[in-house]
């Protein structure tokens, strides 16, 4: 769950933050090259403005879209699908506000290209709801008042959700390490730790753990 900083950032499905950034510098197509489902020739530079067809599975639903290869998953989620629960904070993998789950693992949507997300299951904060009912982690954040302005909160909740799926009974130290890639300028950290502990207990009770 840590990148080479061991500090901020999540390991992202095989693309480390630093590796990813350097590949973006060389052209977005390189980052997408590893995903054969994308109909872009890996050897040729892509026209960044040329639209490509992708199918994204988000919260269990398939969305067929035309996207530019350089569009981030974050941009597509927020501005094209209007799933604005996922927040934008820095667009360079430093704040964690855009954290979503990709195949169950926390990942920064700002550092994930939309084309890169094809073939993977994306879960956003909206995907934790059951109808209008809050998910377990969301309910725990509500009860512990684990936020102030609430802007980093969807990212915090997704990081916690990812942690608890991988580790149903984390220690406080494990919670702190797993959540350290999500900044909260209001400083609600003390309540966030309480919320993650409450969520872990609640998940075990309902048999998720």
């Amino acid at each position: 769950m840590k990148d080479e900083d061991g500090h901020k950032g999540h390991c992202c499905g095989g693309v480390s933050r630093r590796g990813f950034l350097s590949s973006v510098g060389a052209g977005a197509v390189l980052a997408a090259a590893g995903l054969p489902a994308v109909p872009v020739a890996a050897e040729q530079p892509a026209d960044p403005a040329e639209l490509v067809r992708v199918t994204l599975r988000i919260n269990g639903r398939a969305h067929r879209l035309l996207v530019e290869p350089r569009w981030s998953l974050l941009f597509v989620l927020r501005e094209r699908l209007v799933l604005t629960g996922t927040k934008v904070g820095c667009e360079r993998g430093e704040c964690g506000a855009c954290t979503v789950l990709v195949d169950g693992l926390p990942r920064y949507a700002c550092l994930t290209l939309a084309v890169e997300a094809q073939g993977h299951e994306v879960t956003t904060i909206e995907g934790l709801l059951r109808g209008e009912e809050l998910g377990v982690v969301q309910q725990a954040f509500l009860e512990e008042d684990a936020f102030q302005c609430g802007f980093c909160t969807p990212g915090q909740i997704m990081a916690a959700e990812g942690l608890l799926r991988a580790n149903p009974d984390p220690t406080v130290a494990e919670i702190r390490a797993a959540m350290a890639g999500n900044l909260c300028r209001c400083g609600a950290y003390a309540h966030i730790v309480k919320a993650v502990r409450r969520a872990a207990a609640a998940r075990r009770e309902v048999g998720h753990g």
Binding site: P48, E68, E94, C95, E143, Q148, A190
Partner: protein, 764 residues
């Protein structure tokens, strides 16, 4: 007085109409004071809350701003045509475009710049703006704009700003007005009479607000009416500035700010981005979304100025202060703002002989804005470290020295009494909760890793006042809507105001909906800032609910044919305490059914005369210092807060600990770094500008709430919390580091390098 005035309406406080009947203090409460989750928690945790940056409108364009890369330059030429030729680009404006000359940075009776000014006085100053179909095309377009700059000499250091030959930021001196001097008594005599004198110079770093939601707006025109979704602390402040800039009637500018992702003082005013977005939207006939890239927010949306403070204290052998002298120098940045930082020192402790001097200068860097207790954490950093040093010289416990000098009156404000004075209680109860005496006695030892404890105190000099108006609307089923103008900037404003209304109407909070922060639909409120929202607006909310309550009781009295004095509200029913047979649900009130809704309007009564009302705090910290590497770990913090009545203990604790976290950033990690060679900021991102992460704050943090209603001040007994929760933290940490190591680190933040430099020969 100081720059906290930015939070308030300019000039004398306007008087609001006194409520029809003064409300007595609550004798007991059932809702107020409880630990309740927020009324808008569902929206915030589910992702359904729509923040301004989340607004997506049909046909909406995206926009961005081209900024000057130099600290000081003149724009010789701007060629927008390469940008306009790119795919998706719909409009571009530069320094010669219509609207570019809108006056900006108005202060001291004139405008100091224009919306897009050819003379750029800091890195990040706005040069041009474009609108395109996607943000990616906006980025392409901004790169394509050709600008020719004449790069000019610059000054970044506040101490060099007034040196002979320093490049002027504006015509004339680099001083922002004359230095402000305050004096009482005779400092020289006080120092001569002192048994012990300490003097030291301290420096604080320039801090950035860095709210998680970047600054920006979505704007939409309907003919000559403008709707703005702005991430702001004050919708009415933005409305006024945008209307003036665009020459529109206030009624034609609707500013909506239902949710906002943090501000900390950086969002008290309208941004150029809103007006630029409006110009681009008008040119294209389409809605425009303009939010700043994170990097730009570090350059152009305000900061807490760096200060250089010198403190001189004199005391008698028993610790009684005999003299206090403090001078401060800080930078406004490139446009007028205040960097004053001495006010707290003139009133925190009893001292007859005081001299304070504040000097603010221009430099070629982004303009300061009020940041969470402007000037106060800087003052605490210097004053409270000097007090610690004084205690050391006197051989006194630092806590005992402070208790010895607790003031009885507001010494700078006519020696008026405090309506409630919680400093002593914060000191005593905080120390008790922290286990101060025992912790202080423990010897740090001589190991490489050493522990120590420190403390510091503060007040915040304001508690708000009129104007404020609130409206409560009771529906025929006994549920209600509260309408108020204030923004909820993350402090839980909506929640505590709903609790106040629920208390007065004797209905559950769940039966209340809150409408707020919309100039089109809500009554006027001043911006949420300066720890004044609760003490300013909650009495207006209570008055509005009380107005509805009176109508309910009058209708019930008529229906039940009983004297109104016999009736009261309990759990949504009209009851007579003396006669249990009388119990009428509000929904059974015939008058209410006929009328549909009852409306109550409440206003904020004027503050009482003859007293001063301010919140106090004392923070206690334990640290562990690695004397070989200079690393500091904060192990635990106790924050004791006197903010009057606690409306909601859950949100009170949260806000207090959040203030502590921000204080830890001030103490240990946060610093704007400008490159002296190029004048550019080198850490304008969240990786290199170090906000505290969860790993940087202690697991163990506790809030001690004094919770004493200030009944003389307002009808809810409340004072503010946001600022005093962050003011003394950093100084407490610095004092703990000294206790652990014997090293006095005068410059913030205390990075490992700074600690090691200060430690010098003392290491090992």
């Amino acid at each position: 007085m100081d720059n906290s005035g930015t939070y308030f309406v300019a000039g004398a406080l306007p008087e609001a109409a006194t409520p029809t009947e003064p409300l007595p203090p609550w004798t007991s409460t059932r809702v107020v004071g409880a630990r309740l989750p927020r009324v808008d928690a569902y929206e915030r945790v589910s992702g359904t809350a729509v923040y301004p940056i989340d607004v997506v409108l049909p046909e909406m364009l995206y926009a961005g701003i081209l900024r000057c890369p130099h600290p000081h330059a003149r724009v010789r030429r701007v060629d927008l045509s390469p940008a306009l030729a790119l795919p998706g680009v719909r409009a571009a404006i530069g320094p010669d475009s219509p609207g570019a000359d809108i006056p900006w940075y108005r202060a001291q009776g004139r405008a100091w710049s224009r919306l897009l000014d050819r003379h750029c006085r800091h890195q990040g100053e706005e040069v041009a703006a474009v609108a395109a179909e996607t943000p990616y095309q906006v980025a392409d377009a901004l790169k394509a704009i050709a600008v020719e700059y004449e790069v000019l000499p610059f000054v970044l250091d506040e101490e060099q700003a007034t040196a002979p030959g320093a490049p002027p930021v504006h015509e004339g001196s680099n001083r922002v007005g004359e230095p402000a001097v305050y004096e009482r008594g005779d400092v020289a005599a006080g120092l001569a009479a002192a048994a012990v004198v300490v003097e030291r110079t301290f420096r604080t770093a320039c801090e950035l607000h860095a709210p998680m939601e970047v600054h920006g707006s979505v704007v939409r025109w309907d003919g000559n009416r403008l709707t703005v979704w702005d991430t702001t602390q004050g919708v009415f402040a933005v409305q006024a500035e945008v209307a003036r800039a665009l020459g529109l009637p206030l009624a034609h500018v609707r500013v909506i700010g239902h949710y906002m992702g943090g501000g900390f003082g950086a969002k008290l005013e309208a941004g150029k981005y809103t007006v630029l977005a409006a110009l681009l939207a008008r040119a294209t006939g389409r809605p425009v979304k303009l939010f700043l890239p994170r990097e730009d927010t570090f350059l152009a949306t305000g900061n807490r100025p760096a200060n250089r403070l010198t403190v001189k204290l004199g005391a008698a052998r028993d610790g009684t202060l005999t003299a206090l002298e403090i001078t401060s120098l800080g930078a406004a940045g490139a446009y007028p703002a205040s960097a004053a930082a001495t006010f707290m020192a003139t009133e925190l402790y009893a001292c007859p002989n005081v001299r304070a001097r504040d000097e603010t200068v221009f430099i070629h860097a982004g303009r300061a804005r009020p940041m969470r207790a402007p000037g106060y954490p800087q003052c605490a950093w210097a004053l409270e470290q000097a007090m610690d040093e004084l205690a050391g010289k006197l051989g006194m416990d630092p806590l005992a020295l402070r208790l010895k000098n607790v003031p009885r009156t507001a010494q700078r404000r006519g020696n008026l009494p405090y309506s409630t004075a919680g400093l002593e209680e914060c000191l005593r109860r905080g120390a008790e909760a922290f286990g101060w005496e025992r912790a202080r006695r423990a010897r740090p030892g001589r190991a490489t890793i050493r522990r120590g404890v420190g403390m510091a105190a503060c007040f915040w000099g304001f508690s708000g006042g009129p104007p404020s108006t609130a409206i409560v609307k009771l529906f025929s089923d006994g549920s209600a809507t509260l309408t108020m103008g204030a923004s909820d900037i993350g402090t839980g404003t909506k929640t505590v105001m709903a609790m106040v209304a629920a208390e007065e109407l004797a209905i559950p909070v769940e039966r209340i909906a809150v409408e707020h922060a919309d100039t089109g639909t809500t009554p006027y409120a001043t911006p949420s800032g300066g720890s004044k929202t609760v003490p300013t607006d909650s009495p207006a909310v209570r008055a509005a609910a009380a107005a509805v309550r009176r109508q309910v009781l009058e209708l019930a009295a008529a229906q039940l044919q009983r004297p109104v004095e016999e009736l009261t509200l309990r759990e949504g029913r009209v009851v007579t305490p003396a006669d249990p047979s009388v119990s009428l649900p509000m929904s059974a009130l015939e008058g209410l059914q006929r009328q549909g809704v009852l409306v109550g309007v409440g206003t904020r009564a004027p503050n009482p005369e003859g007293t001063v009302t301010i919140p106090f705090a004392a923070h206690f910290a334990e640290v562990e210092v690695n004397t070989a590497t200079g690393e500091v770990r904060v192990l635990r913090v106790v924050a004791a807060q006197d903010s009057g009545r606690v409306l909601n203990r859950l949100t009170f604790d949260n806000q207090t600990l959040g203030g502590v976290v921000m204080g830890l950033g001030f103490a240990l990690t946060e610093e704007r770094v400008l490159d002296p060679a190029t004048g550019r900021m080198v850490n304008a991102n969240l990786h290199d500008y170090k906000l505290p992460t969860m790993l940087d704050v202690p697991v163990e943090m506790a809030c001690v709430a004094i919770d004493r209603p200030d009944e003389a001040f307002n009808s809810t007994g409340t004072k503010g919390l946001g600022e005093p929760a962050t003011i003394p933290t950093a100084a407490a940490v610095a004092n703990a580091i000294f206790h652990a190591t014997g090293v006095r680190v005068t410059d913030a933040p205390i990075t490992p390098a700074r600690f090691l430099a200060a430690a010098g020969g003392k290491r090992g």
